[in-house]
Symmetry: C2
Subunit: 329 residues, 2 copies
DNA sequence: GTGAAAGCGCTAACAA
DNA sequence: TTGTTAGCGCTTTCAC
C-alpha cells in the first residue's frame, strides 16, 4: 500500500500538499488538486489511520461497555450509538465485560493508552471507583445505569416512576397480591424500581410483603423461571408479577405455563424493556418501553461532545407503558 | 499521560531500554529492569498503542461483519470470537452492515488503511467481488456463509445434511405435508438447506410441492408469521413446518397460536440455530444446533493465523438435532 | 547489556 | 498557494 510520500512524488508535490487535499485543511489550487487526486487514484492510495491517529493523538474509536451480549435489551441502544457515531466518523467497539474486572481493565487500558477516545458504559457492575479515576483525564458517559449526584454525565429514565406506573397498572386491574422479581439491589436501577414498586403499593394501602419480593442472580430466562417457582412455593402466591426485565418476565411466563396456569387470568405479568421477543410470547407481554435508540444516540452525542472538550449535561428520557395480553382483563 | 521518553529519563536509561523491558524483547540486567519498572509505576505510564501500532504497522483489531445485531443467532459465535481474540491480544470490532454497501465500504476501508488487521465476515449479503479484492492483500475468513471452491477460508457446517436430518425427523414422525420456510436463495446456506429438504422428501417418495416452499424477505419473527399466514391461505396447509431459522420458526409458532391450533398436534415445527429463546417458547422449539461458540473460536484462530502469514484450511463443523416439544408425538 | 538514531505515516507551524 | 521541517510515541537496527 502506497503512502503519502509516494503520492506526493508521483504528483510532483510535497506530502503537505497531499495532506491538504486529503483533509481540505487549506486552499489548494485546482490544478495541483487534480494532479494529486490523479496520483491518489493511480496508486490506489488510502491514508493510514495509524499515522494520522498518532499525529492527531486520537483513535476515533469509542468503547461501549455492556455486561453481556446475550441480553437483547441492549440491541437497539447499540444501534443508536452506532448510527450517531458512524455519521460523526467514530467507530464503536462493543465490549462485553462479563462483569469481569479483568476484562474491564483491558478496556480501561485501551482508553489510557490511546486506543480509544472515550467510553459509554452500560454496565451496572462497572467498578465506579476506577471509572471515576479514568474520568479525570478521559471522556465517559453512563447509559441507563448511572451515579446519582456524581460528576459523570448520564442518560437514563426515571426508573422509580416507571416501576410505579407499571405496578399501579396492575393495581388498577384489581390485583393486591403483586410479586416483584427484582435483580440484585446493588444496581441503582433495581433500588429505584423497588422504591417505585413500594410507593405504588403504599399509595393504595397495600402492605409491602417481603416474601413477594424476589431477588434474582442474573437476568436470564432461567432466573425468571426460578423466581416464579419460588412464588409458587410460598403459601400466598401472588396474582400478578412485575419483573424488572422482559427476559425475567418471559422466564416467569414459561414457568406459569408449565404449571398449566393461564396468563393473565390466573396470574398477570408485566416486564420491562420491550425487547422484540416480548411481542412473540404467548400471551404477548406487557412491558415498559424505554426509547432505546434515542438513548443510544443521545449518549453518543454527549460522549463526542465531551471528547471535543465541551461540557455536557445529563438527561432523563421518557418511557412508555405498553399494555399487551399478559395484563389484559 | 507520560510517554516512554519521560520514563527513560526518570529511570536514567534510554527509551530503547524501556521498550526492551516493556516487551521482553532483549535481555536487560535486573538492576536496570527494576529501575525502569519503578519509573513506570511512579509515572503511571501506559504505552501508547498509537505509537506502537504505527511502528509495528498493525492495529491488533479484528473486524467482525454481521448483517444485524438483532439476530440472536450471532451472539454465541461472537463470544467465541471475542474470547479467542482477547486471549491473543486482539480486540474485535463488531460491524453491523445492515446489508448496506456503504457501511460495508467503511469497514473495508478500515482494513485498507490499517485501522484493522483482518475480517471475519458472517454477512451473507457481503459483496463477494469486493471481498476477494480485499483478500488479495489482507486476511479474511468467512463464517457460516461461505464461497464454495473459493480461495477465502471458511468455517461452516454441512447445511444440506443438517436440513436433510431435520426434515427426515419430521417425516419419521409421519408427516408428508411439510412446509419449508426458507430465506432468500441468493444465500448459499438457503440453497443448501433447500437441497437437503428436497433430498429428504425424495428419498421418502414425497413429491416436492412448490407451494410448500415459502421464501421470506428477512429472518425476523414477522417474516415467519407472514410465511405461516401464507401456509394457512393455501388449500393444502402443511402438517409440519421446517424453518431455516429459529426466529422464523417462532414467528410461525406465534401465528399458529393465533389460529388456536396446537403445536405439535395440529402442526409440528422445527427451527434452526438453537437461540436461547427457543427453549422459552410454548411449546419449546425443536431445532438444529450449530457449535456456535466453537465456530467463533475456530474462525478467530484461523484469522489470526492468516494474519501471521500462515496458511489455513477451511473446516466443516458438527451440528446437532435438538428435539423439543414442538415435534414430539 | 545499553544507547544513539532512524523511521513507521501523517499533519501543522512556519517560511517563502 | 506551496514546500520544508519537526515531531506524535514507539521499536529496532547498529554500535559500543
Amino acid at each position: 500500500m502506497a503512502n503519502i510520500q509516494e503520492v506526493a512524488r508521483k504528483a510532483g508535490v510535497s506530502s503537505a500538499t497531499v495532506s491538504r487535499v486529503l483533509n481540505n485543511t487549506a486552499p489548494v489550487s485546482l490544478t495541483t488538486r487534480l494532479k494529486v487526486e490523479k496520483a491518489i487514484k493511480e496508486l490506489n492510495y488510502e491514508p493510514s489511520m495509524l499515522g494520522r491517529n498518532l499525529r492527531n493523538s486520537e483513535s476515533r474509536l469509542l468503547l461501549v461497555l455492556i455486561p453481556t451480549f446475550s441480553n437483547p435489551y441492549y440491541i437497539e441502544i447499540i444501534n443508536g450509538i452506532e448510527d450517531y457515531s458512524l455519521s460523526n466518523n467514530y467507530n464503536i467497539l462493543l465490549c462485553e465485560t462479563d462483569s469481569n474486572p479483568e476484562r474491564e481493565n483491558i478496556f480501561f487500558n485501551m482508553v489510557k493508552n490511546k486506543l480509544a477516545d472515550g467510553i459509554i458504559s452500560m454496565d451496572p457492575t462497572v467498578n465506579m471507583k476506577k471509572l471515576y479515576e479514568l474520568a479525570e483525564r478521559h471522556s465517559i458517559v453512563l447509559l441507563s445505569e448511572y451515579d446519582e449526584g456524581g460528576s459523570i454525565p448520564y442518560v437514563t429514565i426515571d426508573h422509580e416512576q416507571a416501576a410505579y406506573k407499571a405496578v399501579n397498572h396492575l393495581i388498577k386491574l384489581g390485583h393486591n397480591k403483586i410479586g416483584f422479581i427484582n435483580s440484585d439491589e446493588k444496581f441503582l436501577y433495581a433500588r429505584k424500581r423497588r422504591e417505585g414498586y413500594e410507593r405504588a403499593l403504599k399509595e393504595s394501602n397495600i402492605p409491602v410483603e417481603n416474601e413477594w419480593i424476589y431477588h434474582t442472580e442474573g437476568v436470564d430466562f432461567q432466573d425468571g423461571a426460578q423466581a416464579m417457582r419460588y412464588f409458587f412455593k410460598i403459601k400466598n402466591t401472588p396474582t400478578a408479577v412485575f419483573a424488572v426485565s422482559d427476559t425475567l418476565a418471559i422466564g416467569a411466563l414459561k414457568e406459569i405455563n408449565n404449571k398449566q396456569l393461564k396468563v393473565p387470568e390466573d396470574i398477570a405479568v408485566i416486564g420491562f424493556d420491550n425487547i422484540s421477543f416480548s411481542n412473540m410470547t404467548n400471551p404477548t407481554l406487557s412491558t415498559v418501553a424505554q426509547p432505546m435508540y434515542e438513548m443510544g444516540k443521545k449518549a453518543a452525542s454527549m460522549l463526542i461532545n465531551r471528547i471535543k472538550g465541551n461540557d455536557v449535561e445529563s438527561v432523563l428520557m421518557d418511557y412508555e407503558l405498553i399494555i399487551r395480553e399478559s395484563t389484559m382483563r
